[in-house]
């Protein structure tokens, strides 16, 4: 009646950890050379797009300055490689639609014309797309990820996205006063993969 059977597959006993110690969070794989997915011209279209979604102004850096296009470019070569093809088609359709409307490349349009092009895409009226609404929503969503996600992924440069919305950054231990409404905590401006999280491993 012993389960220790010579024929049995290897039993995993390393398994279960009940340690009381604070385990460093980011035991991460060694940094690889960042790989991007887009050509120079595709990247420029994307940059112009995200720049209009969240423009730089007196409130601070916009999506472009935060590195949102960089985040998307890196993600399309990595976690989102499966949607690269359709994404690139979408970018090409943006430019083609701009040329059709204004006889100019999208990147060279004045801001108000760029906004008009994006509005047509958002409303689903733009031609040349498989699904203009869905493409707009996807670029917007990825722009938010690039602006407000961990800088580790190539966006949120200088933590400008987190500063904009007063997100105080990841802390491993949060004290009662860090959850106060009236006196929010000081921003830590660190990545989950920054040096502060790498102690002791």
């Amino acid at each position: 009646m012993q389960p220790e059977d010579p024929e049995a597959p290897q039993i995993s006993r390393r398994t279960v950890i009940a340690s009381a110690t604070l385990i460093p969070v980011a035991a991460l794989t060694a940094a690889q050379a960042p790989k991007t997915a887009l050509s120079a011209s595709e990247r420029q279209i994307l940059e112009a797009f995200v720049d209009r979604l969240v423009p730089k102004d007196e409130l601070g850096p916009g999506a472009l300055e935060c590195g949102a296009a960089n985040y998307i470019d890196l993600a399309l070569a990595d976690a989102l490689t499966g949607e690269k093809e359709s994404f690139v088609e979408g970018l090409a359709a943006v430019d083609a639609f701009a040329r059709k409307q204004y006889e100019m490349p999208f990147t060279q349009l004045m801001p108000d014309k760029k906004d008009a092009v994006l509005s047509e895409i958002e409303a689903g009226r733009a031609t040349g797309f498989t699904n203009p609404r869905a493409f707009f929503a996807r670029v917007r969503r990825l722009t938010l990820e690039g602006m407000f996600g961990d800088p580790y992924y190539g966006g949120n440069k200088n933590f400008a996205g987190w500063d904009l919305i007063r997100y105080p950054g990841p802390r491993l231990a949060v004290a009662p006063e860090d959850q106060k409404m009236s006196a929010p905590p000081k921003p830590v401006r660190q990545s989950a993969y920054g040096s502060n999280f790498n102690h002791g491993h």
């Binding site: 059977d5 039993i11 398994t15 009940a18 209009r52 996600g149 919305i165 007063r166 106060k180």
Partner: protein, 570 residues
């Protein structure tokens, strides 16, 4: 050819919230247990304070097996089912208890006897049309010792509201009587959740800090919660969340009576000509194994529990294991409320700072839960718990609803989220949900998993009782948010859930073998040495999270097996 392994006393399929609990009383009693788990072990160092990793890309939860088994969903028995979204559960030692919210509720006495209680108070016509609602075969009082057991074995923090009949307004005054206080005090409040609690009291309601399987002080050698804000869909890097991976499973391993077979995908439960189960077949690294066992406990998840029964056909069970009366897969339902699309979202004119914390940290109102208020004339039975909580990640914060106050992009949007991303929250409503004739699980006729087996097909139809119930609670929730100072409240019309982390039924527990798969102890009415664990045995949901009830039932089934070992294993 399958490799035949040496027999064990009990094979437990799935080491999640349910199976991970059941192994402990078995192993302590000296039974030799094989825990067969489709996932692997998770390294706490992979639990990171990283929204993209945990929440956007779902890298904690996405395991190839679960991805391959995503059920299909349709809204009526006459339509074609499709896959929508991902499987909500994960495979791992510890299962979804690794990344769940850890809210650990007892059901109410009313939840166990809903049919008879509703008939008594509101008349026979109050039972929702087309529902297959039955009273449970056991009462709250019979389950109470097991709730208590789990609260101490696993570790649950909270505040008693009904201590042996003594009501304490610091806890939930509507709960059933409990024999003793929780082993740990509740998670702390924040300035915002305290403000919400104060607003509720102003309305004459009874807010309290709800129970959670999360340490609030050192417990069983693990530390208290650090409130760091990456609990939901993450995992706890310090082991303060009491998943079975850090509680009952290591305790069972210490007895040396539990052997874990991880990354082992069970494909069939095997039965003999007499209708007894003889063991389980599983695949591991491309090899097929047969694990003989005197008793099998099936504890995968609601969708897979029914699917595995329906797939495990034999001479004795040509329609699927323990399915002679066609009950496997019947009486399915999943929680309405926020999980069914019925969100209530509020904007405040000041920062509420809910970025840190955890979903179990907050304030709950149960005045409109279950049958805690008079339903005369309302047109529905059951009710909703309403929970306001912390933990909001930055991408999610910025992806907020603009409440009609700004466009969705551009400079005006930027100015809006700059002001408002730290000022909004969504309430978590959970609504009593019931089984119906037209809500069930079966095998999809078209869609198959990577092994070629049909996936589970979910048929879930619209339900008037639950829709009215959610809308009633949404109005109460709006009242609550506004009393706390909200300037905008948006209520999303409830549509009902598709795939859910709160999925019930399919192998319902009941005395009547013609309408239930398992008996009052959780053992099959047909294959007497097959027990079933999980919310799949539950006949009502209550207005709160299922896990503590699932675990209390799992312990009870395992204890019954130990006590009745000779008769069940014979």
């Amino acid at each position: 050819m399958a490799i035949n392994l040496k027999p064990v006393d009990v094979a437990v399929i799935g080491l999640g919230a349910a199976g991970g609990v059941a192994v402990l009383p078995l192993a302590r009693a000296g039974l030799k247990v094989a825990g067969i788990e489709a996932g692997g072990s998770m390294d706490p160092r992979s639990f990171r304070p990283d929204e993209i990793h945990n929440n956007v890309r779902g890298l904690v939860t996405s395991v190839p097996k679960t991805k391959g088994e995503v059920p299909t969903v349709r809204d009526s028995p006459s339509s074609v089912a499709r896959r929508v979204g991902n499987h909500p559960m994960m495979n791992a030692i510890g299962g979804t208890s690794i990344h769940y919210w850890a809210q650990s509720w007892r059901l109410k006495p009313w939840d166990f006897q809903t049919r008879s209680e509703a008939q008594k108070r509101y008349g026979a016509s109050s039972i929702p049309a087309g529902s297959t609602l039955e009273d449970w075969p056991l009462t709250y009082d019979e389950l109470e010792p097991y709730y208590d057991r789990i609260e101490f074995e696993v570790g649950v923090s909270g505040k008693a509201g009904n201590l042996q009949g003594r009501i304490d307004p610091a806890g939930n005054i509507f709960e059933g009587p409990r024999q003793r206080e929780y082993p740990m005090p509740p998670l702390r409040g924040t300035e915002f959740t305290d403000r919400m609690a104060e607003a509720a009291r102003h309305l004459g309601w009874h807010p309290f800090r709800p129970p959670a399987a999360i340490n609030t002080q050192p417990y069983q050698g693990r530390p208290g919660c650090a409130y760091h804000g990456f609990c939901g869909t993450g995992g706890c890097h310090i082991g303060a969340k009491n998943s079975t991976a850090v509680t009952t499973i290591p305790a069972a391993l210490k007895t040396k009576n539990l052997a874990i077979f991880d990354r082992a995908q069970v494909t069939r439960i095997v039965s003999d000509a007499n209708g007894r189960v003889t063991g389980v077949s599983y695949l591991r690294e491309g090899k097929e194994y047969f694990q003989p066992a005197r008793v099998v406990l099936l504890g995968s998840y609601t969708y897979e529990n029914s699917r595995l029964l329906l797939l495990s056909k034999s001479k004795a069970y040509p329609n699927g294991l323990s399915n002679t009366h066609g009950q496997a897969g019947r009486h399915y339902f999943a929680h309405w409320g926020t999980q069914g699309g019925g969100a209530v979202t509020a904007l405040f004119p000041f920062d509420i700072n809910v970025f840190y914390g955890l979903p179990a940290q907050g304030t709950t109102v149960d005045d409109f839960g279950d049958d805690n208020y008079d339903h005369t004339g309302l047109g529905f039975i059951g009710g909703s718990s309403m929970h306001v909580h912390t933990e909001l990640h930055p991408i999610e914060a910025a992806a907020m609803n603009t409440f009609g106050r700004a466009p969705g992009w551009g400079a005006r949007w930027k100015a809006f989220v700059r002001e408002s991303a730290a000022r909004w929250t969504s309430a978590y409503l959970q609504t009593s949900t019931f089984p119906y004739e037209t809500t069930f699980l079966d095998l999809d006729p078209e869609v198959r998993d990577p092994l070629g087996d049909p996936v589970c097909r979910v048929t879930t139809s619209s339900r008037e009782n639950e829709r009215r119930s959610v809308e009633y609670a949404q109005n109460k929730m709006e009242e609550w948010f506004r009393a706390a100072g909200a300037i905008e409240v948006i209520k999303t019309p409830p549509t009902g859930p598709a795939l859910s982390t709160h999925a019930y039924g399919g192998t319902r527990m009941g005395d009547n073998r013609e309408t239930n798969v398992v008996d009052r102890w959780g053992f099959s009415h047909e294959a007497g040495n097959l027990g079933i664990l999980g919310a799949s045995v539950m006949g009502t949901s209550g207005a709160r999270n299922p896990t503590l009830t699932v675990q209390a039932l799992a312990w009870r089934t395992a204890e019954h097996l130990v006590k009745s070992w000779k008769s069940i294993s014979a």
